[in-house]
Symmetry: C2
Subunit: 209 residues, 2 copies
């Protein structure tokens, strides 16, 4: 198909597709004459994925390119793909907590990990979620929001239930392409979906008479 | 106290505090002589809150100012405060879904709302989470990720449990200052905490032999 047809099928306008091509996110099509390039169904799917990452997921061009590079690396297993997706979508949090406060927060997160069976605590310190959680605990402590700290066990229970369900779904997906796309979307849009649902549920609860 | 003491107690360096003052996020202290300004414990707390919003929550200066303005408005009730906090922390998602796809996604979200007792569906359309959820559903549908769509009920169950617990905690907080701070942090850092926990739980599940 030509680029106009690619635009029609993917629902993404031609100028945006040209931008994806220039930025190296979309592989170039097959040149079949001096002024004609042919695209395939794989391009349609990829254009939709790029749009999802950029617009719905809110990723930067750099992070999107990194994720797509990982998706295109043959032989990547799901566990390492999950690592790449997690790093690309995790915002680095600022850290100007004092050494003492950070250590107290680390202890609290380690206890949380133990309570929820997150396995070897030391190994988890490379996880982007770990550093973020330590920073959040330090912040709650600094602001003396002990009641909010008490909610972390609820979050952990909810996260465990979701992780089981998500990885179950991903394991059930068909070919590798579908699987890696599932991991990327499940991580990225899963966060967004959870945040969106929290908004709605909070409003529903707070509006109750 | 002087600005140096404010920096020491809040853990935020003097240049950052001056920046908060210049940007109108932190109220100026009381001038007690030509070259001396006095700060109070309220400033310490406010400096910590600003840092939490900017660095841990990742908010923009504009969004931080908007939230602090709402916090400082006397007589604001919790329900409207929640609305301000939600709008300020919600990223507007791009929307170039076709009209037909959007309508199908809206229908799906409306059914979800009905299943989970989110109350009057029409009223929820003003909620920032609603628009984001419609966009996510449209994206999953466009990429034919039907299995991920099936997970949305799980997210909704988890969100409902968390909303109950969060608003219970907030209702239990003492004075109004503590309450509004709880709403802002619970909304903003609650999202971050949930995302962080999801990372850790996903890794824990995917690492299992």
């Amino acid at each position: 198909m030509r680029i106009g047809e690619l635009a029609r099928l993917s629902g993404v306008p031609v100028p945006s597709i040209k931008y994806y091509l220039r930025e190296g996110m979309l592989p170039v099509g097959e040149r079949i004459s001096a002024n004609q390039v042919r695209y395939t169904d794989a391009h349609v799917r990829r254009v939709r994925l790029i749009r999802a990452l950029l617009e719905v997921g809110g990723l930067s061009i750099a992070a999107t390119r990194e994720i797509l590079g990982a998706v295109d690396t043959p032989g990547g297993d799901l566990h390492s793909m999950l690592g790449v997706a997690q790093s690309a979508v995790s915002r680095e949090v600022g850290d100007n907590t004092s050494e003492a406060d950070r250590r107290l927060a680390e202890d609290e997160v380690a206890k949380l990990a133990e309570r929820h069976g997150w396995g070897d605590v030391a190994a988890k310190r490379g996880n982007p979620g770990w550093r973020q959680l330590v920073q959040i605990v330090a912040t709650y402590r600094g602001l003396e929001q002990h009641e909010l700290l008490g909610l972390l066990d609820r979050y952990a229970q909810a996260a465990a239930l979701l992780a089981e369900a998500e990885l179950g779904v991903i394991a059930s997906l068909g070919d590798t392409d579908e699987k890696v796309e599932g991991v990327v979307l499940g991580t990225l849009l899963g966060d967004a979906a959870m945040a969106a649902m929290r908004r709605i549920a909070q409003e529903a609860v707070s509006a109750r008479p």
